[in-house]
Amino acid sequence: MSKTGKKKSKISTKIIYVFLSLLAVIYLLPLVWVIYVSLKDDKTLFVSPWALPERPMIENYTFAWTAGKLGTATLNSALVCGVTLILCLLIGSMAAFAIGRMKWKLSGAVMTYFLTGMMIPVHCILIPVFTRFSKMHLTNSQLGLILPYLTLSLPITIFIMTGFFQSLPNELFESACIDGCSIYRSFTRIALPLSKTGLFVTGLMTFVANWNELLLAMVFISDDTKKTLPVSLSKFVGPYNTNYSQMFAAIVIAIIPTIIVYCMFSNQIVEGLTQGAVKG
């Protein structure tokens, strides 16, 4: 490359960096802002929403946590998402093992059946599932939320885990088989431990997706003590009086767990996302 060319590319890299940094500011600013605005009282919030708070109001958080019932909501979310996560990994990897490793005629067809689930918008099943569940007294219960969450999380889990199981070397299973290992044991003792990364990645994705889910939770749960986080948030907005500073505290409470999970495991989340799509 000639000298002028090098200079030119240096300038263009600088421009790229400026552009990317500006964009990063657009991404981070609202998140930083919501954290410090959640520490203001309502009055200063209305006068100067963009200024830093004079005295941090921790009360906003305690109010949102107790009176706003966000404490219970967080527990509910954790319970629902946790149980869904465990069941999803177990049931999903069982099916994935059968599809990816075992030999049967219908495995391709069953896989397609599961994968069509990725294309179905949840809205289409909302009404039949709701009416069925309310007959079975499953609405307003955590189990009623876990079942559809679990079902909707299965396709991506099965998809990613099938890929993982298929990539395991054959010899492992052959030697286990020679040693008299049953198919169930080779699933729990060989396939699962060797696919820890896959389980971890799919687990993260399932957890994040269910943690943020709003529509199903809103429709299925009307009991205040059983609401999940995203649903409880809307309680802070009323048609006539919205308590903004407490609403912001609530927003922070709702997004902090995912931000922490993301900061810790961003690489795995990214890997899971791309793995889910690349093979498609």
Binding site: Y27, L126, P148, F173, T274, A277
Partner: protein, 295 residues
């Protein structure tokens, strides 16, 4: 070994839980939903078959449906086009820089994992008439528009605002998918092209773009289905208001089904949504997807 892998009983044990869940919570409800869409059915009555009645009402009388269809189509086109362009640009820029690539990547992807319900509330405040952005504009003597309440024009301002927020939130996903695909392209292809006197822009046009085309199809269908499903942000930013002007299919369905308890009618909206998802996926796969190139 082979016998073990063909063990019918084990296969059934492994697949049955997922299969049963899928059938009872997903497959049967979809069939039911399609059936309900031909029924007069609400919270107090049993479903009663009325043929195309719901659809007739939906497409001829219902004014909100027209708006919702228009808004959903706008949303679909907007997010597919802008996510494709913005996602590709970001991916191309990020693969070209060395320092800080992971930082920028993680920052842009961050909103994707956050709750859109929470972010919707946050942006609702930013765009309230007297506070937020308008207060900053006022300091410069500019009177900001009513971001979320203006109703002028074919595609009203609130829809543009919401669409931009959704672009902000989800562009990271497209970017990530494209980056994954670009990083899989062998660098020898680029080296060869540079030796032949190819510029970076040309290399992008003639090497990168054709090679990531399969991923473009995948990302586009994800975006398209995602935009049709779109609910959380709108619900928390405007709740479909003012006067149903920002309703999309999903919010319309929610209101009809769970505010007015018109189950049959809401099912018809759901069926329209399902059909749209299938058509869009079909079109994208037909026209964008190509056989994988050897890489």
């Amino acid at each position: 070994m082979d016998k073990l892998l063909r063990d019918k009983k084990a296969i059934v044990v492994f697949v049955a839980p997922a299969f049963l869940l899928f059938t009872f919570v997903l497959f049967i409800p979809i069939c039911q939903s399609v059936y309900y869409s031909f029924c007069d059915y609400n919270a107090l009555t049993k479903p009663e078959f009325i043929g195309l009645g719901n659809y007739k009402q939906l497409f001829t009388i219902d004014r909100t449906m027209k708006i919702a269809l228009k808004n959903s189509m706008f949303f679909l086109i907007f997010s597919v086009v802008t996510q494709l362009i913005a996602g590709l640009i970001l991916a191309a820029l990020l693969t070209n820089i060395k320092k800080g690539r992971d930082f920028f990547k993680n920052v842009y992807y961050l909103p994707c994992v956050l709750s859109s319900a929470a972010l919707g509330l946050l942006w609702m405040f930013v765009f309230t008439p007297k506070l937020g952005i308008n207060q900053i504009l006022a300091q410069f003597g500019i009177e900001g528009p009513l971001w979320l309440m203006d109703t002028k024009g074919f595609i009203i301002l609130p829809m543009w605002v919401i669409a931009s927020v959704s672009l902000w939130q989800y562009v990271g996903q497209s970017m990530m998918l494209y980056m994954a695909q670009i990083s899989g392209i062998s660098s020898s292809l680029y080296e060869a092209s540079y030796i032949d006197g190819c510029t970076k822009a040309q290399a992008f046009r003639y090497i990168t773009l054709p090679l990531i085309r399969p991923m473009v199809a995948t990302a586009m269908s994800l975006n398209a289905i995602g935009s049709l499903k779109f609910f959380d942000l709108i619900f928390n930013m405007t709740e479909g208001g003012p006067n149903h002007m920002t309703d999309v299919l999903a919010t319309h369905l929610y209101q009809q089904g769970f505010k007015y308890f018109k189950y049959g009618y809401a099912s018809a909206i759901g069926t329209v949504l399902l059909v749209m998802c299938l058509i869009v996926t079909f079109i994208i796969n037909k026209f964008v997807k190509v056989e994988n190139y050897e890489m």
